[in-house]
Amino acid sequence: MIGHSFKDEARAFGRYLLGHDPSAAAVALYVEASHKRPFTIHPGDADLIRLGVESPWMLGALDGALAFPPRRSALRDKLLLMTAILETQREHADLFLPQARPRGYWLVVGLQLAGAAGRLLYGKIVLALL
């Protein structure tokens, strides 16, 4: 038993992926998709999902830790679903369409990678403690 609604998940995941609250339309689509294509919740998944929804600031670390090395997880499946939904919302199109090289391109890419590595390490520690 996870103890929260699909709506709670959508809001938490949307906030993590976008940095702000997702639109009501995106939340509604997530709820609809979760009913139509339910994910298999493996042992341990429920705790991770609950932790991510109750402490959305930890989602980046958990997500990164589950991605490297790749580990099958309902949390990642749910985050992928929310990502796909956000990608098909017109207001977010430019977040997903290829962008031209900005000023300081490699610096931007390097900082992003460094941040991702930090979140991954933090996530590994959290996963080890759970």
Partner: protein, 536 residues
């Protein structure tokens, strides 16, 4: 319609081409077909470019993800994973009517109007003389047949190093579409390293595609909307249904859809065909003077197995081993992309091991944009948010290399019908497809050579993805051509041995399946089978 001169089963590329040749030869043709269409998404997709609809269409999630979110992957990559929601009608009702069982082979079959051709990648490579001979096809006649098909469908390509492997001797070729800006680097790198690559058997260039780049054949040239995986609005891409639509204007042609042909009975004066209505499951019968099976290799095998020998036969099968590899092209990171692009294969890399045009493997390079970013994010070893932010800038540098290997048999590969009381036809096809160790070793070794060649072009393989055997959607060899009258064989005209009026116009007779993509050859062969019939 009176007794048809020929009944053609299937409206895919082979069926459409055979029917067109028969009708043009004066025959009265009846086409029997599954006829499944997309009634859900076709009207939703706007006539805008991919980038434009992404920024403006509030309903885009419906055709990009699907009303049932069927486009979102939930497990391992399998056959058909690349089908977008508006293309998924290709496989509608297949699980119900074309039941299949296997733990080693995962084919794609279709009951769609236009068959699997509705999702065809448009590649139009001719088989070399050596490949044709190995497949059991007549070299001189096939050369003429390729030209006839090219004149009907319209092909684009480039006179470059790949030409001997793509359109070769075929004339009337339109110029290729604009090359994706991200692949200009590898294209230039080939010019600089051509000597070393050629010395190891590699040849690189633009693919030949059944895609108009200029208005012709009553169709418009490519519109660069980058929506080829979703719709056929401009009809620049040739699809079998376009040919069937045109045939339906001809009084000598009749089309009956909503049917699954199950068996035939060959008699002295003609043939009787039994079919099942998809909606009511009622059995119906048709009579014709000749029968042309173009139901796809697995579909035709089912019909032949049921009709002869009480369904107890076991048939061989060929299928190109297929793998794909996401690659990074660092020179393309951060490339500004124009809105006007196209989704089809951009470049082709051929490996002709000994220069004989007999043992050729082929890789096609595709760009990723119109398949949406989320599918790629799933494979990136970073959290979704970090991956999204990075890929926003790096995506133009990601290329998909789809690699096909030739297939000459060997190993444990066969199919047979077995009883299935839950099936509307009372049976299902069981298939086994296992490569022998030596073939597996050769395939792996060759992939290593492709990885080397791609590095020379400035593209670096990240991982190897195997969607499973059968995922090439290239099948052949179930009723191999044979001169002598032997059971389960076709004679060189395509006639099924042991019958008088039953011809097979798909790839069932090919004894060898080159890696180049068989569709152009299937159409040329279907034209030949039909032309011989019109002369009977």
């Amino acid at each position: 319609m009176e007794l048809a001169d020929a009944i053609v089963v299937g409206s895919g590329c082979s069926g459409a081409m055979a029917a067109q040749t028969l009708v043009e030869g004066g025959a009265r043709v009846l086409m029997l077909d599954g006829g499944v269409r997309d009634t859900r998404y076709a009207d939703l997709v706007p006539a805008a470019s991919f980038a434009d609809l992404r920024r403006h269409d509030a309903r885009q999630h419906r055709y990009l993800l699907g009303d049932d979110f069927e486009s979102i992957p939930t497990g391992a990559v399998t056959t058909g994973a690349q089908l977008t929601p508006p293309r998924r009608f290709l496989i509608d009702r297949v699980d119900e009517f074309l039941r299949h069982e296997s733990s080693t082979f995962f084919p794609m079959e279709s009951l769609a109007y236009g068959g699997l051709g509705a999702g065809w990648g448009l590649g139009c490579c001719v088989f070399s003389d050596n490949e044709l001979a190995a497949a059991g096809l007549p070299v001189t006649e096939m050369r003429d047949a390729y030209q006839t098909v090219a004149d009907r469908i319209g092909i684009c390509g480039a006179a470059d190093d790949a030409q001997p492997y793509t359109f070769a001797h075929v004339r009337g070729i339109q110029p290729p579409p604009a090359l994706h800006p991200s692949l200009e680097g590898p294209h230039r790198a080939y010019a600089a390293k051509k000597g070393a690559l050629n010395a190891r058997g590699f040849h690189f260039g633009r693919p030949a595609l059944a895609l108009l780049t200029e208005d012709a054949h009553g169709r418009r040239g490519i519109d660069y909307r980058d929506m080829e995986f979703y719709d056929d609005k401009s009809q620049a891409a040739w699809r079998a249904w376009i040919a069937v639509d045109r045939l339906r204007q001809d009084s000598r042609f009749a089309y009956h859809g909503g049917l699954l042909v199950t068996r035939f009975s060959d008699g002295p004066d003609g043939v009787e065909v039994e079919a099942l209505r998809l909606d009511t499951r009622e059995r119906v019968a048709y009579r014709g003077r000749e029968l042309v099976l173009a139901a796809g290799v697995l579909g035709s095998a089912r019909i032949v197995l049921r009709s002869l020998d009480g369904g107890g036969g076991r048939l061989p099968i060929l299928s190109n081993p297929y793998y794909y590899t996401p690659c990074v092209v660092p020179s393309a990171f951060g490339t500004a992309l124009p809105d006007r692009l196209n989704s089809m294969a951009q470049l082709s890399l051929f490996h002709d091991r000994d220069g004989s045009h007999r043992d050729v493997a082929m890789a096609s390079l595709y760009m990723y944009r119109s398949l949406l970013l989320f599918r790629l994010l799933r494979e990136v070893p970073l959290g979704m948010r970090d991956a999204r932010a990075l890929m926003n800038y790096l995506l133009p540098g990601f290329v998909i290399m789809g690699l096909h290997h030739p297939e000459a048999g060997g190993g444990d590969k066969w199919m047979a019908l077995e009883a299935d009381s839950a099936s509307p036809t009372g049976d299902r096809l069981r298939t086994t497809y296992v490569l022998d160790d030596e073939t597996e070793r050769q395939v792996r070794a060759r992939e290593g050579q492709f990885t080397w060649a791609m590095r020379q072009l400035g593209a670096y393989a990240i991982k190897r993805v195997s969607p499973g055997q059968g995922s090439s959607v290239h099948y052949a060899g179930s009723l191999p051509f044979a001169e002598s009258d032997r059971p389960w064989r076709l004679d060189p005209s395509g006639r099924l041995h042991g019958t008088r009026h039953v011809f097979v116009a798909d790839g069932s007779g090919f004894r060898f399946l080159p890696a180049k993509g068989p569709t152009f050859t299937l159409m040329a062969h279907a034209h030949l089978v039909a032309r011989r019939l019109t002369r009977r």
